[in-house]
């Protein structure tokens, strides 16, 4: 993987690279219509649960039971407002922001330092350590889930936000190191040599030369960390007990296991969970898509 891939294959539509010989304009036009029709069908499949999520959250408790249509008869924002205020989704939202924010910052700091060493400095044991971190990609979440919980119980950090953030940071190690090491390696080595000549220390070189250059890769890593962390359920659900520390996914679970299951409230909660991710994704998607394909294809 190269950073050029991440940097230059920027935004914009994929180019049409395959153009057969011209064989009748009519046929081509019909073909295009068919192609768009098929894509539209899958587009609806893609959006299907979101459409119903929006629909349900705009219905009141009466309509959710008696009106099975997608379009509400009397659309209301009350369900959303109620969920946000009365059901404390504001508090859950704040907790999610804290956990996701701290995890993301931690990942960027810890793994940009490590990847700089792996990519730029030649030190003993570098290759072995690098490989070791990458092998961790194979470890299933369920294998470490129980030991992490038991360890945190001993350390007394089980059930705190801190107890979530540490394993979350560690969990993204392989992917972050993979992406950032490649990015640091693609920076011309002469930059460092020249700076060393001028008497700059390693830290200066790292902070004021390398980090600004690989910024797009850092954003990619931040997104690839933040999005799964925002949605994380497994470790959070087995470690957090206090309701005031709940993140959004746990708040949502609370709505579902309540005495009366009201789908309009549940879907309003779901909408509150997905909207920030969708906004972040749309705003930064060029980093996301290109970084992802770069990382996956190696």
């Amino acid at each position: 993987m190269t950073t050029e891939l991440i940097v230059t294959r920027g935004q914009g539509a994929p180019k049409n690279t395959r153009r057969g010989p011209v064989s009748g304009r009519r046929v081509r036009a019909w073909n295009q219509i068919l192609v768009y029709a098929l894509l539209a069908v899958y587009g609806i499949v893609s959006l299907y649960p979101f459409l119903w999520m929006i629909s349900a959250s705009l219905k009141d408790s009466h309509e959710i039971v008696f009106n099975p249509n997608l379009i509400p008869d009397n659309p209301t924002l009350n369900t959303l407002i109620d969920t946000w205020q009365r059901l404390d989704f504001f508090a859950f939202f704040t907790n999610s922001v804290i956990v996701t924010g701290a995890t993301t910052i931690g990942v960027i700091v810890v793994y940009s330092l490590a990847s700089y060493a792996f990519g730029v400095i030649s030190f003993r044991g570098r290759t072995a350590l690098y490989r070791f971190f990458l092998v961790l990609l194979f470890v299933p979440a369920v294998t470490v889930l129980l030991p992490v919980v038991l360890l945190e119980k001993q350390l007394g950090i089980l059930g705190t936000h801190f107890g979530l953030i540490l394993p979350f940071i560690n969990g993204t190690a392989p992917l972050s190191i993979l992406i950032l090491t490649a990015a640091f390696q693609s920076v011309p080595r002469e930059l460092r040599e020249a700076a060393l000549m001028d008497g700059a220390g390693e830290w200066r070189i790292f902070a004021s030369i390398y980090v600004p250059v690989i910024r797009p890769s850092l954003i990619t890593v931040a997104l690839l960390t933040a999005i799964p962390t925002w949605n994380e359920y497994l470790l959070t659900s087995v470690s957090i007990n206090k309701e005031e520390l709940y993140t959004l996914p746990l708040g949502l679970r609370g709505l579902q296991s309540g005495a009366i299951l009201e789908y309009n409230t549940l879907m309003a909660g779901a909408l509150i969970v997905v909207i920030p991710v969708i906004i972040a994704f749309i705003a930064l998607q060029r980093y996301f898509v290109n970084g992802l394909t770069g990382a996956l294809k190696g």
Binding site: K15, V35, I121, P147, T225, W230, F281
Partner: protein, 326 residues
């Protein structure tokens, strides 16, 4: 853990950092480099020793013991947990066998259906100019939102009075609708969950195919169409073999998800109805966290290590298979 899906294939054999620019250097410079290197990687290594290595070793040891999580000591049982899981116990084995069969369905269904949908989708998306970016964004939403919120939304549309049943009735296919709900009927529950998992898996697969298609040598395809090969022939005889390495990655990612992922089941059916959607990952989770003081933590660890081993073996076989083809 935040489950970042990740292609193990390429990563594992990714070249180690190259030893570029290693000229003659003074001993002083080398030792300074060593020291600086260690300082830079220290936070990552310390975190890993604590949260990674310790927990892995701990879990591995626990797989040779029985424990309920509260008694002060473990009871060492050697390989008993593994033997029980692999057919040696009248209590445990049938549950595991049932979960294994269900997992096998997911292992077959998830990669195959994902490839069958995402490859043509990528070809279609690659052949248009207008709106390609917007369409790609829409196709990608299931990946970024994957989690409890969309699983609940699917549960909502799949319930007995849900949108899927009304849609079928509206289309005159009322006989296909499921009065017990798609997740309530034992025959449809697992296939339905596989479809939901495919829905979440298609975006990454499609984007991988798409980026491969953009780097396919167009002269090959032009030559083929000059020779009179139609759209179908071109895509299946020429493009499909060219993207085989991507198919390998997609299959691998989804086999891993099928083996290890159980969030969809946990949140949508919790293994029901009547264990028809219980899978091995979910069973490992239950043995660890829903054991009600039964001494099954070691059993859970053993099961999760078997899953770990299976994932590595499958990754290896898969790579071999596709490597030899290309």
């Amino acid at each position: 853990m935040p489950s970042i899906t990740l292609p193990t294939s390429t990563a594992a054999e990714a070249a180690p950092p190259s030893q570029r620019g290693r000229g003659r250097r003074s001993a002083k410079r080398t030792s300074r480099n060593n020291l600086t290197g260690y300082v830079f990687i220290a936070p990552a290594v310390i975190l890993f020793l604590l949260m990674g290595l310790y927990t892995l070793v701990y879990g591995f040891l626990l797989s040779f013991a029985t424990w309920n999580g509260f008694t002060p000591t473990w009871k060492w049982v050697g390989l008993d947990n593994y033997i029980d899981l692999l057919g040696g116990s009248a209590m445990v084995s049938p549950v595991i066998l049932n979960a294994a069969v269900n997992t096998l369905w997911v292992i077959v269904g998830l990669p195959v259906i994902t490839v069958v949908i995402s490859f043509p989708l990528a070809i279609l998306l690659n052949s248009i100019n207008r709106f390609a970016g917007a369409i790609r964004t829409i196709f990608f939403l299931p990946y970024v939102t994957a989690g409890i919120a969309v699983f609940y939304a699917w549960t909502y549309v799949l319930q007995p009075q849900g949108a899927i049943n009304s849609l079928l009735t509206m289309l005159g296919l009322g006989t296909l609708s499921q009065p017990q709900g798609w997740l309530g009927n034992p025959d449809t529950a697992l296939p339905t969950l596989i479809v939901v998992m495919v829905w979440s898996a298609v975006p990454v697969a499609m984007i991988l195919y798409l980026s491969a298609l953009q780097s396919v040598d167009t002269s090959l395809i032009e030559a083929a169409s000059i020779d009179g090969a139609g759209w179908w022939r071109t895509n299946f005889s020429i493009t499909w073999p060219l993207v085989a390495p991507i198919t390998a990655v997609v299959v691998l990612l989804n086999i891993r998800e099928a083996l290890q992922g159980f969030q969809t089941m946990l949140l949508m059916t919790n293994g029901g109805p009547a264990e028809h959607t219980n899978v091995l990952g979910l069973e490992a989770y239950r043995l660890a966290f829903l054991s009600n003081l039964a001494p099954t933590l070691g059993l859970s660890s053993a099961l999760s290590w078997l899953l770990f081993a299976a994932a590595i073996i499958l990754a290896f076989v898969n790579l071999r298979l596709f490597r030899s083809k290309t």
